[in-house]
Amino acid sequence: MGRKPLRSTDDAQPGGTPSPEATEVPEKRPGSGRMGRRTFVVGAAGILGAGVLKGLADPAHAQEAQVIVPDDPTKVQGPTASLVGGRSPFEQPERFLHPQLTSSRTPLQELHGTITPSDLHFERHHGGVAHIDPDKYSLLVHGLVERPMVFTLRDLKRFPSQSTVYFMECSGNFPRNASEDTLPQQICGLTSQSEWTGIPLSTLFREVGVLPEATWFLAEGQDAAVMTRSIPVEKAWDDAMIAYGQNGEALRPENGYPARLFLPGWEGNASVKWLRRIELSDGPFQTREETSRYTDPLKDGKVRQFSFVMDARSIITSPCYPDRVEPGWLELRGIAWSGRGRIRSAEISFDEGATWHAADLQEPVLPKAHVRFRYMWKWDGREATVLSRTTDETGYVQPTQQELIEARGVGTRYHLNPITGWRIRTDGSVVYRTEEWA
């Protein structure tokens, strides 16, 4: 309770408005969303001799609070089948909201495996969530093409489809100067993973006949921000998709329903949601989001622009703050990913990076995807620090924060992927290993 906002003076956007994706992680009550913040009554007082699980503190969840949890489920018929299932009332993972409600973060510490449930996928909106009638949806592709064309959602779904697992990460996914009471969700909860279904963008480019002088394309959304980003046309011939499916169902509205651009391994902002228009051009448009935002100051007086690829990164998601562990065997668990391709290794260090020990990678290790890693470790009860780092198939090694600062200076807010870790105190409490940004 009462923890400080994770915000340093130099992290505040000088313009006044904090950048919701990059500058701060606001207060979160320890344990909130982790163990459940409601009071449950489970006992024998309910109907049919069963206990009633009751949400006393949260009217928003009154409906699910009606679930009956009998003392002995073998002695009473359970509820019938239902049209749509829900989570166990004992499980209440939640996204973590930015105070301006412009972004929310995936509860990485509460997830198993590598797929993010669609309703927990991180969000970053620049004009709120657009709600679009799929029957009125269309995508215009024009500019330097032979045949400017319009495709309905029905058209898009009739093209040859593909389903591929990819992570999606916002480039503003690291809070500098975070304090000890920080959750993985707050450190890098702006990454999520789904199986995305759609069509290769190259299929559409083939249909419209992209002209040879087209080197970039503009992707434009149908939200209130009419979000625009310029993308090199090579990405379309590589692996860019128009996605309409996510984890087996239609895209969620907050993820771009009914169709979005998806650029595997690249910063999330470029994968424009609610995609309404693609314009092929002979250069970038220099939109607001690719100039005054989502660019990275360097220490030579320049600013890096069109920094699309997400560098390799890892995080230990268990144990983490605010866990309390006991001496004995612990499975260190986490995820690793790289926008450049497959993860080659994930490693653990117990000595601040002096030596590293290979963790097990859960197969299949997919390119541009979160990979689950695990390391069995016997904690002896003494104060310890556990760090993780990853190396991808190109040989890129996840850097320390100091290496990042030495390479780029201190003024950058995006594309920060430093090695992070946790301290385990002798009483078993786990806290974030803090590191001053300087």
């Binding site: 000088p14 313009g15 006044g16 408005t17 004009g127 215009l140 592709v141 024009h142 045949r147 400017p148 064309m149 495709f151 093209f159 040859p160 489809s161 591929t164 190259s202 299929t203 480019f205 083939r206 006949g209 992209v210 434009e220 921000a225 625009t228 046309v233 309404r276 314009e279 051009s281 250069g283 448009f285 220099q286 607001r288 100039t291 005054s292 660019t295 100051p297 220490k299 007086g301 320049k302 600013v303 890096r304 622009q305 069109f306 920094s307 699309f308 690829v309 560098d311 450049r340 390119p367 190109t394 890129y396 090694v397 290496e403 990042l404 390479a407 780029r408 201190v410 003024g411 950058t412």
Partner: protein, 205 residues
Amino acid sequence: MRTAGSLAVLAAFAGFGCGGGDAQSGGNGESSLQGVASSEPIPESFELGRTATDEEIDTLAIAVMPDGRGLPPGGGTPGEGAEIYAAQCAACHGPEGEGGGGGQLVGRIPGDPFDWGDGMQGPRTIGSFWPHATTVFDYTRRAMPWDRPGSLSDDEVYAVTAYLLFLNELIGEEDEMNAETLPRVVMPAYGRFVPDDREETTRVH
């Protein structure tokens, strides 16, 4: 799977991507699309979608390029823009663009230094950080004002753009901004932006 995809990418480049006038001809042996297995030969076209009309393109294609392509007819002066700004923008961005609920839009640092990477402090405003004046028009027209995005006329957007450039001491009080003049405004941040080259190395960069 990835190999097949890569081959298909090559096929796409060879047959369609750079085909220019030959894009429609296709049919030079491709049997698969990128990442898509096919049970039958891929046709030249799946014959889905329809040709876009000039009218619907004109309606939707609002993007402006740094050289001014895409700018509409019309124009506006800082004086005209001041009134519109006061009514539509000041509530969030402050009476003189100093910021409020919305970001700070106005402010230069003496000498226009650009040492942000070294931790230089200062407001990242249109005058101190934006490399292209055309972006002000493009963004204002598509996304502002916050409570009624896209509601300003082209003349009004030109006028607000002119006012903001004037407040940033980039144009004179009488200078009209239009499709000819706006792209010629030289921004202090112009030339400061460099393309990403991280993938040329495996080092931290």
